[in-house]
């Protein structure tokens, strides 16, 4: 089931360094939410705090609330491992497991919970996920080959297939197309569009057109000054953001009159 995420007054730290300050927003279920903003303003940091990947870095911590289903993700009774299974992530650079085949890569997450999945069920999951990631037709004849043998765009879609194979409720994507060529980028964008019907998708992008093309809502992050924490300037429906933004800073950034 796709879920919505409520963020309330979130501060994010690396040790003593406050990287992101005072973010509040509501990410709607079954929609695509895009984050834009200059480099270093904390988009990735914020995204990683939505599935508790942030705390993997030594010394990293957050203050504030991230609510999913009326439950705070950072409540002590919540298991971060479970959070990450429910809220999947796709990274900037494709990262299939190098020692595994395409087939095994797709199943990597499922195997964690269900070691002895029957062959037929496993085949179903692989096919469904690869179809979901628009990759099935390209790889169905070489499922036993290493995942590293695919092209960059195919690898990234394999990673998306791996992420959706465990049927998460939310899919976080951190600049998923920045390492891809335009054709692969178009393929991934189509895929995002398709996935929207079943997942809540949050995507960080550097590409304004991409944000405009794929997202329903957009958040603009910015830095007040170098060394200061990043913050959310504006969060609005994408249409409004790109035609009639609330903040002059947003307008400046979007129209390229920035920095």
């Amino acid at each position: 089931m796709a879920k919505s995420i409520d963020v309330q007054d979130l501060d994010i730290f690396y040790g003593d360094f406050k990287a992101v300050e005072g973010v509040s927003m509501t990410i709607k279920a079954k929609s695509v939410t895009a984050f834009i903003g200059p480099s270093g303003c904390g988009k990735s940091t914020f995204l990683r705090s939505l599935n508790r990947m942030h705390e993997v870095i030594p010394g990293a911590r957050v203050e504030g609330k991230v609510m999913v289903d009326g439950m705070s993700l950072y409540d002590p009774i919540v298991d971060p491992v479970e959070v990450r299974r429910r809220i999947g992530m796709v990274f900037q650079r494709p990262n299939p497991f190098p020692t595994m085949s395409i087939y095994e890569n797709v199943l990597a997450g499922n195997r964690l919970n269900n070691k002895r999945m029957p062959k037929s069920e496993a085949d179903d999951v692989v096919e469904k996920s690869l179809r979901g990631a628009n990759l099935w037709n390209e790889v169905k004849d070489r499922l036993g080959k290493p995942g590293m043998g695919l092209s960059g765009g195919q690898q990234q879609r394999l990673c998306i297939a791996r992420a959706i194979a465990v049927e998460p409720e939310v899919l976080l994507m951190d600049e998923p197309c920045s390492a891809l060529d335009p054709i692969s980028t178009a393929a991934v964008e189509d895929l995002i569009h398709d996935l929207k019907s079943s997942y809540t998708i949050v995507i960080v992008t550097h590409n304004m057109q991409q944000a405009a093309r794929v997202s329903d809502d957009t958040g603009f992050f910015n830095l007040k000054a170098a060394g200061k924490p990043g913050h959310l300037v504006e969060f609005n429906p994408t249409k409004q953001m790109f035609t009639n933004p609330d903040s002059p800073d947003t307008e400046a950034y979007i129209s390229g009159r920035f920095g």
Partner: protein
């Protein structure tokens, strides 16, 4: 010696270049010579051991002792003992070495990891004769009850057939000491390959909702396999050649046997050499050197495989 000023006017060049080129040639040649000398030294190890060892293959059988007729009858049980004790040491060391390597690379808090790595290096710096002294005098005393217990209750296992040695100075003790000695080697290499696993793959596993152990199983261990194997082989190489810890900790004789808690246990090649070199006649010296050659050849093969595995791992990663 010329002072090689930077901008030499053209007329002087030719004379000067001759001298400089000579300097360069001499230096390059001596660097190359040093490299060749190392090759020569390694070849020399083989050649001299061969020259002095080959006569040992055909000496008067009484030099082999124990009623052995030929050199191979004599060296067989020693080679068995060497491999046997070394494998026992590996069984002791490998699980702990890998666990400690993981501890340093993935489990320990940052502040602890560096000092722990240093402590393990310290373990590697302790001279083997001190390990031997400790094994023979302290560890053996402490192990007496354990050895008695093994002899009483587990004597149906051939390794613990007994009768248990009353002084604790057994092959089991030596295997433990050897295990401690080779642990730092295996740990050092494994810890390096564990730390080299790409962060991206670990993040992929974390993002799928893997626990820390599952991250290690998914993204660290498969990647580190050949490096770990190489580390184990290097540890084995070290154990095969270790002399003092074995010589000082238990009394041994060249026999095929499995009992490791008795008064006497299988002897290793290194211990055989160390025990007999002192009162060796010229003939016996040849025999001992021949035995040393066998040990060398064997460790050479083991190390060769280890290096090859490391190289293969690196090539695989480079792809």
């Amino acid at each position: 010696m010329s002072t090689g000023s930077s901008l030499t006017p053209p007329p002087a060049v030719s004379a000067r270049r001759g001298r400089l080129a000579l300097g360069d040639r001499v230096f390059a040649a001596s660097a190359r010579g040093a490299g060749l000398l190392i090759l020569l030294a390694l070849a020399g190890v083989f050649v001299f051991l061969l020259i002095q060892g080959i006569p040992g293959l055909s000496v008067d059988p009484k030099e082999y002792g124990q009623g052995f007729e030929t050199f191979w009858q004599y060296v067989g049980p020693l080679l068995f003992g060497t491999i046997f004790i070394s494998l026992l040491a590996l069984i002791v060391a490998v699980p702990f070495a890998l666990a400690v390597a993981l501890f340093i690379s993935h489990y320990a808090p940052r502040r602890l990891a560096t000092p722990v790595a240093y402590v393990i290096d310290l373990l590697a710096a302790v001279p083997s004769v001190v390990f031997g002294l400790w094994g023979g005098r302290a560890l053996s005393q402490a192990l007496k009850p354990v050895i008695n217990w093994l002899g009483d209750y587990l004597n149906w296992i051939p390794l613990f057939k007994g009768p248990a040695s009353p002084n604790g100075q057994t092959a089991l003790t030596a295997a433990l000491v050897l295990g401690v000695m080779i642990l730092p080697i295996i740990t050092a290499i494994s810890r390096e390959v564990f730390a080299q696993t790409p962060r991206l793959n670990e993040e992929a596993a974390i993002g799928l909702g893997a626990t820390r152990w599952e991250v290690i199983r998914l993204a660290v261990l498969p990647y580190a396999k050949s490096g770990v194997i190489a580390g184990i082989m290097l540890g084995l190489g070290r154990a095969l050649g270790e002399t003092m810890a074995v010589t000082m900790v238990y009394s041994s004789s060249p026999k095929y046997m499995l009992n490791i808690i008795g008064d006497t246990s299988p002897q290793t090649i290194a211990a055989n050499i160390a025990n007999n070199y002192a009162e060796a006649s010229a003939d016996k010296q040849h025999v001992l050197i021949a035995a040393g050659l066998v040990l060398f050849a064997f460790t050479f093969v083991v190390n060769f495989i280890a290096r090859w595995a490391i190289g293969r791992g690196e090539r695989k990663l480079a792809r």
